[in-house]
Symmetry: C6
Subunit: 264 residues, 6 copies
């Protein structure tokens, strides 16, 4: 009884793609990522890490996201936000950075208040400049989302967004190939976060000083949030719900990484 949203749009919510491993058999399964953003100075809270459910490469992915945001939006103003990113309904530990495009899109949607399409699932690894890098298990991931869509009824608009450098790895099941050929299911390949953002939002990626674009909306909200915080007479350092870094000192997850990411 996992909860998914496979049509319409939502803010701060996105469908990612993971690979589950059952002995000899592995299959893709979608996973829902959510980002919660508020006024405050808690920083970027990695919920998986804070609850010791993440591996090293997953954590590196979130640090790269942090570097992307610093490079993109903190050139003229500092950034102060209070945000948390969670893999919903995931309890068994997670590793790999193949969800970092997913997480960055989700976070920026929540910051900018920009709706994301729920009928597309995305996988890919990001670097500090927003380039999308290849990931493992691309076929299982595409097929896994296809199966979930078919189960609940295909809409014709559904599909997956994958790294351009993974196109050469695509060897899909005949039924998936047919659906794609008939225009019932879609595979989009992207080279940059900007291309993915345009696909998910319908907005041009744009520039941070153009409010009618994806990056402009995010930059405007970051500016608004820090302005709101500045108006608070007390020191902004204290507007903490959760103390970031709280679970430091805890050992890494001893469980093996998820199959789809292990093979990177």
């Amino acid at each position: 009884t996992l909860i998914f949203d496979l049509d319409g749009t939502a803010i701060g919510q996105i469908n990612g793609l993971a690979v589950a491993n059952l002995g000899d058999y592995s299959f893709g399964r979608p996973s829902r990522v959510t980002a919660s953003v508020g006024i405050g100075a808690s920083g970027l809270i990695n919920i998986e890490r804070e609850s010791r459910l993440s591996g090293r490469t997953y954590d590196k992915g979130l640090l790269i996201i942090d570097g992307y945001i610093r490079n993109k939006y903190a050139k003229k103003h500092p950034i102060t936000l209070s945000a948390s990113i969670a893999m919903e309904q995931s309890y068994g530990g997670i590793d790999g950075d193949s969800a970092s495009v997913t997480e960055l899109l989700c976070l920026l949607s929540a910051v900018g208040g920009i709706p994301l399409r729920q009928d597309i699932a995305v996988t890919g690894s990001i670097n500090q400049w927003g380039e999308v890098q290849a990931i493992g298990g691309v076929n299982e991931k595409v097929e896994g989302f296809f199966d979930v869509c078919r189960e609940t009824g295909m809409t014709g608009t559904q599909g997956v967004c994958i790294p351009h450098s993974n196109v050469k790895n695509l060897v899909l099941r005949p039924d998936v190939v047919s659906a794609i050929e008939e225009g019932q299911f879609h595979v989009w390949a992207v080279k940059t976060l900007d291309e993915a953002a345009e696909l998910f939002t319908g907005l041009p990626a744009g520039a941070i000083d153009d409010s009618d674009t994806f990056h402009g909306k995010v930059a405007d909200r970051l500016e608004l949030m820090i302005d709101t915080l500045k108006k608070q007479p007390t020191s902004s350092g204290s507007h903490l719900l959760w103390t970031p870094g709280m679970p430091t000192g805890l050992p890494p997850d001893p469980r093996p990484p998820l199959p789809g990411d292990e093979g990177r």
Copy 2:
């Protein structure tokens, strides 16, 4: 000699449901959760974690609660509170996020000063948007609360609140089924925190800017608390009774998770 309250209402106190395991035999037992809230900037203190009695999924549950609060109440103002959540009379370690609906209701009751019904016990997992997700061991949990109520005398208003997605798992003992059919015991199924809040408080869930509703009362108190703190001339960062994050660096509980949550 566990202490329970099975009638009337109370603020910052609620009956949860756990599953105890004695070799081959497992049975449900209620557990009391309390939340203590004061003026200050200690953040949200997870007492089980701070005393190294919690597992990873339990901690993730509290981080999700933190994300829920950020998303719901921190859109226009930052949030500064000093609160602690404890599983009373629990010493053996706890895991699983099946108490996260319980804890969130309890915390919001303590923040908003809103009385909660003590004749209902609740189980369920929450996500960052307040959706209630399925949990394990639902039958044992319902039967366990039924048994405790019968022991101290049933009032006719008592019952349990479970996730809607667990209704299909219900296969209860004949005596419990009879009591339900006779209207002596009740099972409520909810899809969202809002539905649970309305059940426990009799208030409409409402919106944060309507003071006559559940969310409005919580938002008003959060605003009042930060206003009170702002009037303090000293830096609010120092109004700490307990330093959050103090037990960082301590290893996780080596004990096995509680049975009811393990099976998730």
Copy 3:
């Protein structure tokens, strides 16, 4: 050559009750708890924990005390104090929360400057609302304090304060029963911290806004302390003697818990 005080009154000092285990033979022994309170912002320092001599349940007991104080005294003002609680002359590690009533009484005495009777020893576990919960080893604890009193000469006013829910567990030695029947030794059973406070101080428990009562005196001093700190021009965050949380990252005590608490 342990140091005890078995008559008169003292501020910030109280006699607790522990159980020592020598192979097959276990016996009760009193323990002295002291609380030191000063102007400052170090928070509530758990000396046993900071020196890695405490177990998880002991630490949970102190977090519950913290929750009690937040709930009781921090409704209108934040609380800033600098206090430490120690088990004097204890070197071998401690676990269990059966000293939490003892510690809370001792701390509130030190905060409020309220003398506590030294001729009574107390045991019991507290919850966030100040309810006193059952503990283990009640007979050995009562007998242990009786023996210490007899050794140094009984005064006729001496006795022990135990949780009401432990009365049913009392099966005392004939000589202790005789002394109680002859009014030479006493056993008081309490349900709440308020009852214990009235027994130890002779003051009514009262309300925080009535300065002639136990809680009123504590509240007045907390207010006075924060007012004193506010008058300091430098940031109150720096008035630290010892950095709370300093020993974080240290492993828990590998030694087994004390016998009297293990059985909870």
Copy 4:
């Protein structure tokens, strides 16, 4: 499908050189280092370390970089920056300080907004005064970059920058020697960071008070960044995206160091 840039220039991006080990056979492979810099006070974030993917000597290298910056640029003003350094597309753990010249050049490029040549790869260890020290595996590293360049088409301007003290270790493959002799590939040997900076940027190294030089441009931007931060009314301490030091308390990477650095 690793992403490299082998011509033109880029800011905050540089090609480093590592050695991969496959059983008996070891070979050089380039690695891309990126530095992201923004207004803020997060300090210098070592992404490898924060994700527990670095060894001790790698971390020491970044601390030496920190010492270099303190000594060079913090004589008249304090330094406040928010920067992160990452080894892109590296997941298997990293050790050794043979990338510290690489990282320092990359960081200063990002701080000063100074473009770096992408057709040169660099290796070398730095000390607190900016002297370049010998590293291991110099031949494999040179040959590895040569092979990558040849694969994508040599431009005639490409080459590697190595420590002067490693020149005596050079015993290159005949094809590499021929390319060098024909002016198709280049090996530059440097004794100081200043020499490397001039090679990569075409600017004179210069002095911190001469804005037309490498160090002058870096110093000007550091001054500009702290001035921008000062104009923020809220305490600069809160402009944190990621809390530096967050993953403290985590165990070091158990994996063996990379071969090229092990032999130092």
Copy 5:
């Protein structure tokens, strides 16, 4: 070639007493404790602990010292100091709290600028009220200091200060007994820190508001130090040489405790 001072007086320096163990044979040896105090807000730095050379009971001893200072001097003003306590020339790890009287005297001497006699060595454990408690190995400790004095030439004023509750344990070597009987060596027994302070300084212990006494001089300097710090325009929180708590997260000393303290 250990350095000792066995006559005259010195500020912030004192001779303690330890027991060394060589297989079957154990003997006492003096140890020099020094305390360094400056203007600042680093708190009380336990050098042995910060370098992971201390055991749990040693650390508890320093926390008790912290509690003593809070209780004695922080009733009207907060305390801000920057002080470090070291066992000079000790490398092998230390445990036990038998040096806590020694350390407290040394610290108060350094704070108050009060000279301490160097011809007396002291041993004893302190509680939060300044009562001196029994320690182990008293005979070896007395004899050890006697031997060191005799080696460098006895002055007739030399001797040791021990807990009053250890007098009953004294069974000294004939040569030590003779020297004591002839007035060439001395044993002082004390019940409180005040008695020890009067012995070591020649000042009356006195009250904190009488500047001609031991406690008055300490209180005056604490007040002077916080006044000096207040005049600093920058936040006092930043006047740190060493960050207290820096080595948190490090494991305890695996070495066995020193013999003299083990037997407590």
Copy 6:
């Protein structure tokens, strides 16, 4: 290809002496220590410790240095500095406090901008009062520096500075004895840091209020640095490049200590 400076002077740079162990054979080798100092509030950064390359006694040595500085320079003003100390070109871990005189001289040179002779190498352990204590392996250390000097050509002014209490341990090789007798190599023995400072700088040690002396120059720069920091409008607490204490929570170096220090 280690880098050494064996003539002239340099600021913040000094030659220390270590002992390397190759199976049965041990020999001395010089090591270069550098100190980087800037305006800021990072405190005293122990680079070896922060990269987990130091043992306990090495760390204690740096804490003693911190205590020395507090006692010497922080009597009238607090101290705020940002400094790092590194053993250059050392990767294998380090233990022992025989480099603490070396490090303290180097740090004070960097703080005061005072040139140090590079033709002298120094070894010795310091206490909080600046007394120089005996170290191990003195003969190997003297011979090791002699050999390095001879290799690069002796200048006639070169030599080593050792603790006075180690003079009695000197049994040098005949060729070293000859060079000393012929005035071609020198051994200076010192009892205090002041004597060492005069040897290395040619300045009188002096007093902190006399600007023409070693201590006066250091004190003047410390005052200048804090004055510079005070003029910064933002809180000085944020001028951090590296967060001190960042690697807390990491286990100590499992490698054995260096031979020369082990034997202490």
